[in-house]
Amino acid sequence: MDFTYTETQDMIRDTLARFLGDTYDFETRQKFIASDEGRDPAIWTALAQELGMLGAAFSEEHGGLGGGALENAIIMEELGKVLGIEPYLPTVVIAGGALKAVGGAQADKFIPEIIAGNVIVAFAYAEPQGRYDLANLRTSAKKDGAGYVLSGHKGVVYAAPWATHLLVTARTGGGQRDRDGVSLFLIDANLPGIVRRDYPTVDGSRASEVYFENVAIPADALLGGEGEGLALIEQIVDEATVAVCAEATGVMQKLHEGTLEYTQQRKQFGVPIAKFQVLQHRMVDMFMEVEQARSMTIMGTLKLDLPANERKAAVSAAKNKVARGANFVGQNAIQTHGGIGITQELAIGHYFKRATMIEGQFGSADYHMERYEALTLAE
């Protein structure tokens, strides 16, 4: 047993932290998220080409550094600390994860392009009626000659306005909620018939409603077997879920640190408010949530390779604990700051917003507790 990071992993963390420290201070971030594009594309290019960061989780044969889920977690945690809105999660963790799983010509084609920073992928999986159920799909892909015709509506597709490609879940058979008949496609984001409505999100990113109006897609857009995609989708969403747990750990750490710092500066009744025991205990409770979030992220990450049901139970345990922790730490960071915590002026409120959205991302605390119970407590 060994819970230490390798030298390479430490180097990835240090390099990225230094780069983000130089490029991603809060004021700079606030400026580029308010720009028309909603991001600074030079940062993505630098992550790819100067730092080689987008290859950290890919094999050396594809031009990467040979890492995997742990490297993803390290990078997501550092992005969390700066409220990064870079599309690392959908592009590297999710699309990269799917490509690694299917391998072959598709992996050989796309992974080097992802590593080079040329391909950005948005994950179009959620639908208005579906909540967190990955199989609840109305979007359909019907066989048409050699390819498919894609129709439907995907909701709240993070990073879609920036994407060169979309990773889309769609039904190629079966009823709306069947496990069978679900397929996964990686398609060009600019195909005729794809209509987007773009908007900002409450946590500083950009997303879109994506409408597919009889979009003709080629046969080789299909990742994995037709109608057999759900197991793969569940796997990549589990990988994404522990990755947002890692991001949450970074966000929660900053919420806690910011609160410690503020309470030592802020004086009321003649003393720094950090002297009040009721606030000390609350900050201790926040600290314990941050530590446990880190523990559960590592636990979930290390169990990603177990058989599906064990993997799912571990990921759900991690997400449930992290979601509850993010809620507690976020709310108490704001409460401890007082009025200044609910203004746009301080970074703390923006960390709180991201922590809040992470709570529900890929399933709320309740959703994951239900999944955990079904897997571990069934009679």
Binding site: V156, P200, Q268, G338
Partner: protein, 397 residues
């Protein structure tokens, strides 16, 4: 002891219901349903309807324009306005400075200000908190120095709600630098159009402009606009804080909020069933209802119990703590209920963005409201301060 309404009460309830149904401004209803930001005129529209009817200040003594209702009638009125989803009237004049003026003011102050508060002619704001004086309000530093018949006021206030619309503000200012903290404070009524006043917006997490910084630079204020004695302003402040805390329980509005959450949970799907049938979600709604009932009956005991009529005491801190926690849980459940559609954000982005927001109508403001309502456990004396009050004043610790 009983909890039934008398036949007179039931008739009154019907009268209120009918009045609201026939007189609530249509345009306001539409804006509320769309989740639009309300203007000053919107806030005043309902105020003016109630003023015309003579129902705008039920809590005031009859001689100053109150309704003379029994506590039960006042309870019914607030229940019915919340049930009908009427907007809440701005409290700064009606619930805050009004009672201070009729309790502590001079005959001239009463004659001038009270009718204008009732009619809505003057919009009021509250100049209490300062950057260095929040929970420790008595450490405030904005100073008023006598100059002939006037004071010259200098300092900075913050968290001044709706000051951008205000005609008048009531301010706590220091008039004796050498006295013990609470003893050197006076309560001034200041014309917000006075030279030397600057109001700057503070934008909160949901993108709203509700609160402001107010800067006072050599602002000349007649001493006749001081309420009560010089250096005794803390007496007015304590009186007002207790008043502010009773309304803050917000039972009737939270009941309405529970109904809204239920309606959303009946519409949102969880698999092939409405979300309200999800055991976890249902349990959370039920727990909230139980806690709200506990709050309601605690408030009713204080309204109609043996201590009724003595005015709000330190136990009103209990109502503030529990009421604000329930308001926050409501926004949390709403955000949870809307799932993915909590994420789209449509405010303060670009000029002239008039497109209809994404997702169901009830989802548009779910996240911004959740962020915004974190304020309820902070304002009006934070819940930590309220617990200190209970520990000291109720438990004698």
């Amino acid at each position: 002891m009983d909890m039934e309404f008398s036949p007179e009460d039931l008739a009154f309830q019907q009268e209120v219901r009918t009045f609201i149904a026939e007189n609530y401004p249509e345009e306001l209803r539409g804006k509320q349903d769309e989740g639009e930001e309300l203007s000053k005129e919107d806030f005043l529209a309902w105020h003016k309807v109630l003023y015309k009817k003579g129902w705008v200040a039920p809590a005031w003594p009859v001689e100053y324009g109150g309704t003379g209702w029994t506590p039960t009638q006042r309870f019914i009125f607030s229940e019915e306005t919340a049930r009908a989803d009427c907007i809440r009237l701005m409290p700064f004049g009606l619930a805050m400075v009004g009672p201070v003026i009729y309790t502590f003011g001079t005959p001239e102050q009463k004659a001038y200000f009270l009718p204008r508060i009732l009619s809505g002619e003057d919009w009021w704001c509250q100049g209490y908190s300062e950057p260095g004086a929040g929970s420790d309000l008595a450490s405030l530093r904005t100073a008023a120095v006598p100059d002939g018949d006037d004071y010259i006021v200098n300092g900075q206030k913050t968290w001044t709600t709706m000051a951008q619309h205000a005609d008048w503000g009531f301010f706590l200012v220091r008039t004796d630098k050498d006295a013990k903290q609470q003893e050197g404070i006076s309560f001034l009524l200041i014309d917000m159009k006075s030279p030397g006043i600057t109001v700057r917006p503070i934008i909160t997490l949901g993108g709203e402009h509700e609160v402001n910084e107010v800067w006072l630079e050599d602002v000349r204020v007649p001493q006749s606009q001081r309420v009560y004695e010089e250096n005794k302003g803390w007496t007015c402040a304590k009186f007002l804080l207790a008043h502010e805390r009773t309304g803050i329980a917000g039972v009737a509005a939270s009941k309405r909020g529970v109904e809204k959450v239920k309606a959303i949970a009946r519409t949102e799907l969880d698999g092939d069933k409405p979300l309200i049938q999800n055991a976890f979600f249902k349990r959370k709604i039920a727990e909230l209802e139980v806690d709200l009932t506990a709050l309601e009956f605690t408030e009713l005991r204080s309204l109609a119990g043996p201590n009724a009529g003595r005015g709000p005491g330190p136990e009103s801190s209990l109502l503030k703590i529990k009421g604000s926690e329930i308001q926050q849980r409501l926004t949390e459940l709403t955000l949870e209920a809307v799932g993915h559609y909590g994420a789209p954000y449509f405010r303060g982005f670009g000029e002239g963005d008039n497109e209809h927001p994404i997702g169901p109508d009830y989802a548009h403001r779910a996240a911004p409201t959740y962020f915004n309502v974190r304020k309820t456990t902070i304002y009006g004396g934070s819940n930590e301060i309220q617990r200190n009050i209970i520990a000291k004043m109720v438990l004698g610790l």
